[in-house]
């Protein structure tokens, strides 16, 4: 919500700068962005009382002094004989109506009203609706204006089950279902209470007589409706967070004043819905308790002073003001006191944690994971939402994506997708594992702890394993180190997969609670990270590789070349590795095979660009004595 600096100043005795206010707002817990003397506020949901210039200024009282500077209409108001009945007082205990008639709507607004629209980005609609919006911003009381010439019969308010279409004053049509708080006339809904009015009875630029409704809808009746009907409503936002029920008459009189500031008022009538405030809400005055909660030692005088500054009345007890619906307990009072002292000014006190809970020896999952990583497997974490249902899938009632409305009962679909994703990124040695709880539904929902891995392609990129493909034997070796009984290794067919690669895919999934593990149970040890490496972002462009084979006839040159490539770093060179090493004892020659992988962050590299890079890399190598690259020319 945007609140203008100059509007806050109207309610403050002192004249703090915008940045001084900003600092105090942070101390009080009101997050915001300040720019061009506009505070873009983000309030916590418990502070509905701050959703106006007046309300926010009131919270700043302790710093800058709050003054009630609103000019309101103090004159006589005739009784408005409006034929209205409230059938759902539990949903809205108090509703007042103002009937105001003017001779003509103004052509121009006064500065204070105009500035609100210019600076907050709110759109102007018509004179009465504009005042209603401004009033809500200024005082925090939403209201709704009907064109009184369109109110031709008696009006009722009721919370009821609806099944009908409703045309809003924004020109949209919504289908009302389930329970809603509605105003009706002749059996037809004319306004969605606390949210949005209807098109048929709305004011326009020519309206000269308006019936303005001021109400106090209970939050639970408004909650969730704007999302359900996809409506943006400032009024609903306020009612969801609580609007001060004691505000109505003052807001009504302020409305009249603003109208009078702009045009000639012909008549004013009002109908106040009878309502007496509930019993005063009180809390015991207990400064010791608050000091105990906070670990502070504030005096009773300070305590009382803080509370008075927030609008609390202090007698024997603490009387909670009507606008603070969020205050219920000593802990709430403690938070108020802490906010005013400043959280950062409360002195820390050393804490020694005592814990009676005994530690148990358990299987440390990390020991299993460690084994997998030793063999080159990397851990993934997947979201649990999947497309395909199995007979025991848990169904999500409200999925984000309708095509993914089941919780996975196996890790397979996720891991196959992970494999294909990496293959599409030219990765030819893929070894992944995931460890996750999964949930299934039989008669009830049960949890299983699963460990799964998937592997395909080369065993690894070093010269001993480059030409070897992952097979069952390789996997068997790993599994037999972990499990007493080696679990089944499944070969996944590529027939139904979107891929042209032909390497075999192997998959294993194990229910950890059903498998016997060879590793010992022990006290959990947490692995700590000693050094945090800064991550380099990953390119979204394809990579290209070039292989080169060197014949070397001088033995010292072999080591020189190996150190050269080990230390090689060049723009667009993603990776370089030795995939072949062969010593020919007869000819006294060594063969080194290197793969250079190129990838750019900004584009797909052309053959020409790669050629440039390769030449730059190979030049120093070729200059060495006794080094040949058979077929080098043709490779380029």
């Amino acid at each position: 919500m945007k609140i203008l600096y100059k509007d806050l100043l109207k309610f403050l005795k002192q004249e703090p700068s915008a940045s001084e206010i900003s600092e105090s707002l942070y101390q009080l817990g009101h997050e915001h962005i300040l720019s061009n003397e506009i505070f873009d506020m983000e309030f916590t949901p418990n502070r509905g009382d701050c959703l106006s210039a007046m309300g926010l200024a009131r919270d700043l009282n302790i710093f800058f002094g709050y003054k009630d500077s609103l000019e309101i209409y103090e004159g006589k108001i005739e009784r408005f004989n409006f034929d209205f009945e409230n059938f759902s007082k539990e949903a809205c205990p108090k509703i007042s109506f103002l009937n105001i008639v003017i001779d003509e709507a103004p052509l121009k607004y006064k500065d204070y009203l105009d500035s609100y629209f210019i600076n907050t980005g709110q759109k102007k609609n018509n004179f009465f609706a504009d005042i209603s919006n401004y009033l809500s911003y200024e005082m925090g009381q939403p209201s709704h204006c009907f064109d009184s010439t369109k109110i031709t019969s008696n009006v009722t308010f009721e919370k009821k089950v609806c099944d009908e279409k409703f045309n809003t004053l924004l020109g949209t049509e919504i289908n009302l279902t389930e329970e809603n708080c509605v105003f009706s006339m002749n059996g037809k809904i004319i306004s969605l209470g606390g949210i949005l009015g209807g098109a048929d009875t709305a004011c326009s630029n020519t309206t000269k007589s308006a019936i303005v409704e001021f109400a106090s809808f209970r939050p639970e009746n408004i909650l969730g409706k704007t999302v359900k009907y996809n409506i943006n409503s400032e009024a609903a936002y306020k009612f969801e967070r609580g609007v001060d029920i004691a505000l109505q008459e003052k807001a009504l009189r302020r409305f009249i004043q603003i109208v009078r500031d702009h045009s000639n008022v012909v008549s004013i009538e009002a109908q106040y819905n009878e309502y007496t405030l509930e019993n005063k809400r009180e809390l015991r005055l207990d400064v010791d308790k608050v000091n105990k909660i906070l670990g502070t030692s504030i005096s009773k005088d300070e305590f009382v002073e803080f509370l008075i500054s927030l609008g609390f009345d202090i007698n024997k007890n603490i009387e909670i003001p009507s606008f603070r619906n969020d205050i219920e307990t000593d802990n709430d009072i403690a938070e108020e006191i802490a906010r005013l002292i400043g959280y950062n000014k409360i002195q820390s006190k050393e804490l020694q944690i005592r814990n009676k809970i005994k530690k148990e020896k358990k299987l440390d999952i990390d020991d299993i994971k460690e084994k997998f990583t030793e063999f080159g497997f990397s851990e993934v974490i997947n979201l649990p939402f999947v497309t395909f249902k199995t007979k025991d899938s848990v169904v999500i009632d409200n999925p984000l994506d309708k095509n993914k409305k089941f919780l996975r009962t196996s890790l397979k679909e996720s891991l196959v997708n992970n494999l294909l994703y990496n293959e599409r990124r030219q990765n030819d040695s893929i070894k992944l594992f995931e460890f996750s709880d999964i949930y299934s539904k039989d008669n009830q929902i049960t949890k299983k702890t699963k460990l799964a891995f998937i592997a395909s392609g080369r065993v690894s990129h070093d010269y001993l394993n480059f030409s070897k493909k992952i097979d069952k034997k390789f996997l068997d070796k790993i599994l037999s180190q972990i499990f007493v009984e080696v679990p089944t290794i499944e070969e996944i067919s590529r027939n139904n997969l979107d891929t042209k690669i032909s390497d075999k895919i192997f998959y294993v999934e194990v229910d950890l609670h059903k498998s016997q593990i060879k590793l010992p149970k022990k006290q959990k040890e947490y692995s700590r990270i000693d050094k945090f490496n800064t991550y380099k972002s990953v390119s979204e462009y394809p990579s290209s590789s070039r292989d080169f084979s060197f014949s070397i006839s001088k033995s010292h040159v072999v080591n020189e070349i190996i150190s050269y490539f080990d230390g090689l770093s060049q723009e667009n060179l993603k990776k370089v590795f030795l995939f072949d090493f062969y010593k020919n004892e007869k000819t006294n020659e060594v063969k080194l095979g290197y793969r250079l992988v190129f990838q750019s962050f900004t584009k797909t590299l052309s053959d020409n660009e790669i050629r440039e890079h390769v030449l730059k890399i190979l030049k120093p190598v070729l200059r060495k004595e006794g080094v040949e690259i058979p077929g080098f020319e043709s490779l380029l």
């Binding site: 848990v394 947490y526 700590r528």
Partner: protein, 241 residues
């Protein structure tokens, strides 16, 4: 002069795989909490409204309980936990103070945009004993943040709102470029929550805190896009060996 006979085979470079960076940070943080005396507990990801909301004083009218924020399953009979707090609740109902629990794991919210994912990870701690107060909470949070970052980290406490703590605070740290970054939520356990767990709230009080693991991982590793963690891209994962 060296000869071909002396020439050994080149060293095979290490080809270890990696633990997922989120799990690395999770372990790291649990380790820090363990040093302070917190004992790790765990619980289910599919929860009841009672444990995920009611017991934590999140009332029926709270916006978080709406269908647009929480994933419900099996005709609203259960839900995907929206935080790790129900784990603490389950442990508290079976324990007598003093106790200190930590819990970490996956949580779910109905969000999906460039800065939010429908699944992310949280870590939480709760300590209940006699006379635990807000000044103690500040001491512990400072120490934890110094352990995660370093002793010179500048820390700011701001009042905030969580239904399960009162007073509640959000904690920011000052980044190198002079911006305050929110990294942690904490507070004094709302006595209503203690009562819900059958703990005498006149005799005992507690402190609680929670952090988003992705947030810490992004800061520590310099990852700028949260979605990177869940693409399962080996080029990404292999940087965290």
């Amino acid at each position: 002069m060296s000869s071909f006979d002396d020439l050994g085979s080149p060293i095979i470079p290490q080809s270890k795989g990696s633990f997922h960076p989120i799990n690395q940070i999770k372990e790291h943080l649990l380790g820090i909490l363990s040093d302070f005396g917190f004992e790790e507990v765990s619980g289910p990801e599919i929860e009841s409204e009672e444990f995920n909301f009611d017991m934590l004083n999140i009332k029926e009218t709270h916006p978080a309980r709406q269908m647009h924020d929480t994933f419900y399953v099996e005709e609203k009979s259960m839900l995907l936990r929206t935080h790790t707090s129900p784990v603490q609740i389950r442990s508290m109902t079976h324990s007598k103070p003093p106790f200190a629990f930590s819990s970490a794991g996956k949580v779910y919210r109905k969000d999906d945009d460039s800065t939010h994912l429908p699944m992310f990870h949280q870590i939480e701690g709760i300590y209940v004993d006699k006379d635990v107060n807000f000044a103690n909470l500040k001491d512990l949070i400072h120490k934890i943040i110094y352990m995660i970052f370093d002793d010179s980290t500048r820390i700011r406490f701001r009042p905030s709102y969580f239904p399960f703590t009162e007073p509640s605070a959000e904690v920011d740290i000052l980044s190198e470029d002079g911006k305050w970054l929110e990294i942690l939520g904490c507070g004094i356990v709302n006595p209503k929550v203690l009562q819900n767990c059958k703990i005498d709230s006149e005799e005992f009080s507690g402190l609680a805190f929670g952090l988003g693991i992705e947030r810490i991982a992004m800061l520590k590793f310099g990852v700028t896009d949260i979605r990177e963690f869940y693409k399962s891209n080996l080029d990404f994962l292999n940087q965290f060996k």
